[in-house]
Symmetry: C2
Subunit: 214 residues, 2 copies
């Protein structure tokens, strides 16, 4: 049974998944980049960027882990791009250039309709205006036997409150951002989660939680 998962979301000690004042020149918000420093020097990520060298150890093993196969992604409008409100035009194609690193269909939650489009490497973008359950249904249909993952703090919060997430892999980063997008807003169903594993490097803690099958 395909699952809905948070597959590697970095969160600061004070609970933010991005810094304040996100913009086109600063997509992760003020100092949000520091949330991802732990993986930027890993051998695996450097290799994906065409670079040699890099660190090995726990953080690299976590980045290299391919045990989870993702067949579709749901993200929020804010993760897709910096514009808000009605689309000014359809020129913006995402932060990731012509060949995004996803290689699967992406479903973008928005209040404003926009035609689907294809990028290179098997990535395509689809814009969903009728809510998170519709997006999940369409993403699961597109993912086949693989899992669906979520991107963006606001999107995770919405699916969490609705009780729709099966597994979460969170990276706790011991920095304070002070302000930004909270990964976890208040939730009415918090207690159904069980710890699956916890492992710390000398930089961050990798936490995996799942909801026990009933």
């Amino acid at each position: 049974m395909p699952k809905l998962r948070v597959q590697g979301m970095s969160v600061s000690l004070d609970g933010f998944a991005a810094g304040p004042s996100q913009s086109e020149s600063d997509p992760l918000g003020l100092n949000g980049r520091r949330l991802h420093e732990w993986m930027m020097n890993t051998t695996t990520l450097r290799s994906q960027m065409g670079l040699t060298g890099g660190t090995t150890g726990i953080d690299d093993e976590m980045v290299a882990d391919e045990s989870v196969e993702i067949g579709a992604i749901i993200m929020g409008r804010n993760t897709f791009g910096p514009s808000r409100g009605p689309w000014p035009d359809f020129e913006w194609k995402g932060w990731w250039g012509d060949d995004p690193p996803f290689h699967c269909p992406i479903f973008v939650l928005t209040h404003f309709e926009r035609p689907s489009f294809d990028a290179e490497g098997g990535t395509s973008f689809h814009f969903i205006t009728d809510g998170i359950e519709s997006a999940l249904r369409q993403a699961k249909a597109a993912a086949g036997d693989k899992d669906v993952s979520l991107m963006g703090g606001d999107t995770v919060s919405q699916y969490l409150s609705a009780g729709l997430i099966d597994e979460m892999y969170i990276i706790q980063v011991p920095i304070l951002l002070g302000d930004g997008s909270r990964l976890f807003s208040s939730s009415e169903n918090p207690l159904e989660w069980e710890l699956k594993s916890i492992v710390a490097s000398d930089a961050v803690t990798h936490v995996r939680l799942h909801r026990p099958e009933i």
Copy 2:
């Protein structure tokens, strides 16, 4: 130079230092007790409670660590007791019975005056109505060469925003509480913290942060 420190504050994955609906029968709020489960079975804590047996390992070593000597404590009114507003009377002496486990002067932040009183074992309670800086001054004077520690999420937040904390030892507990008292509210000076150490057991992560001396 004596320091102001957060000396062992447990916080949930979603950022709460206590659950919602704190009351006299439920001082840590709904499910707040789960924040402290990691230490309840350690050999050191059981021994302090007059019990034998218990777990050893990372969590026990952290509880047993006596490298920090605390000479005074500052806590919020909500940590001292369940009543809010003007004191109904002076009968309430804290949650901890006749012999509180602190053995040092406690400074309680409140808007309502109340006389100091002594408990057994060297613990005394003093009620400070003229603000956090006054409380810090009095606590440092009382602590002598030892450090001052903070208790209570709201109190930590206030001193953090004021830039007055020198060191923080936080225990990240991988559970969701959904609601309650946030340990970290928004802060304007978040970036001055440096990671001192991080170590995870199979239950929680122990994180120590400090502000570099300038």
